[in-house]
Amino acid sequence: MRELWRQAWTIARKDLTLEFRSRTAIVSALVFTALVLTVFNFGRDPTAVSTLDLAPSILWVTFTFAAMLALNRAFQLELENQALEGLLISPLDRRSLYWGKLLANLAFVVVVEAVGLPLFVLFFNVAVGHVLLPLLAVIALATVGFVAVGTLFSAMVVRTRFAELLLPVVLFPFLLLPLTYAVQATARLLAGRPLSEVAGWLRLLAAYDIVFVAVASWLFPYTVEE
């Protein structure tokens, strides 16, 4: 068990080191996030619709797109470096490979969200201070949900021809569900509803995460070998 974690951590650290050095993916993702937020800003009539109505949707659409950008990076990296074969020949446990990639993807998306959230607050003038902690919990839980399934699927699509197009198509319904929960929870938080109303959505998100991380982790070895 400890060995699994150690291996996963080795993979994650390697991924993050590589990303930190080449920086291409993270910069693209950050720029993209800023772009999407700007488009939303210009795409609305500030006099017509209350920001608070749209805010949750805007936030989550932005985060979803950013997450999708991040996901292909994980296995694309191995393909580009001609290293996937080496990973499979080594005694690396396949589940550790999944966990390592999951951790690296999470770190990546969290960085993007950490920049995206303040930008969002800035552009849309939404008060989040009083609900920051629960909001962060929602963001964290939903992110784990997207990334858990996305990491699994990215391992599959990386070997097909239109990986960047295929991943969103295949991942779509698996994004929609946690997205729905997250938007519901965020909307209630931003509207100042009592925490008890939000708790149910948080529980759903947590359940989704636990179930799908387990399922993805169990299925992952089948994506890399028979």
Binding site: L87, I89, S90, E225
Partner: protein, 219 residues
């Protein structure tokens, strides 16, 4: 289309098997089955010690471009279970054996093809494997480097390691081998100890064997 057909053998410590065959004969497939990458539809392959005991050199370098040579070695050492305390020393040692010490801190993307191959060999050796699987390992190596690789393989044999070497070039592996196999269209058309034969004799035997069975897709 059958990639491997009725191949059966076993090797013990100190043996070096050289598999010669034309392109498409199934040499790479055989090595991948040995490495556990491909599960055969029939039969099985077992390597004592499992994955940790195998060192692999193949067509892909398994090196990460933005990591230095040393960092690559440390990464793979970690995955292969080399204890943390020993990793640094082992890396230094292996880099020295392959004359890569002065390149150790360079990123892998900056290396020439021959150096990449040497680094790949270093990576294969970092965890001191009992079994080495080599698929066309001399590709990209200049004369000097090829000679060094040959002496390295000889040393490994002396140290009781098992080496399986696959190549389409008979001259490259003949004198290293204790056993020789010719593979054509998935089958071992011959498998025998090298005896005292030199490279020229082996090459003759190979040409005869391959000629008789019609060769592969192209020689």
């Amino acid at each position: 289309m059958v990639a491997l057909d009725d191949v059966s053998f076993s090797l013990t410590a100190g043996q070096t098997l050289a598999i010669f065959g034309p392109n498409g004969a199934g040499k790479t497939t055989l090595l991948k089955v040995l490495a556990g990458l491909i599960r055969p539809q029939a039969g099985s392959a077992r390597v004592a010690g499992g994955r940790s005991a195998i060192g692999w050199i193949g067509h892909q370098s398994h090196l990460y471009g933005h990591l230095s040579v040393r960092e690559n070695l440390l990464f793979w050492a970690s995955l292969y279970g080399v204890p943390r305390a020993a990793r640094g020393a082992r890396a230094t040692d292996v880099l020295a054996r392959l004359s890569l010490t002065d390149r150790a801190e360079q990123p892998a993307w900056s290396l020439s093809r021959g150096l990449v191959q040497r680094a790949a060999i270093a990576k294969a050796l970092i965890h001191d494997p009992q079994v080495l699987l080599l698929d066309e390992p001399f590709t990209g190596l200049d004369l000097a480097a090829a000679g060094e690789l040959r002496s390295l393989l000889g040393a490994l044999r002396g140290a009781g390691r098992v080496v399986v070497l696959a190549t389409h070039n008979v001259d490259e592996g003949a004198e290293l081998a204790t056993d020789v196999a010719f593979q054509v269209r998935g089958r071992f058309v011959q498998y025998e100890p090298r005896g005292g034969r030199g490279p020229a004799e082996i090459a003759d035997a190979y040409r005869r064997a391959v000629g008789e069975t019609g060769g592969g897709r192209h020689a």
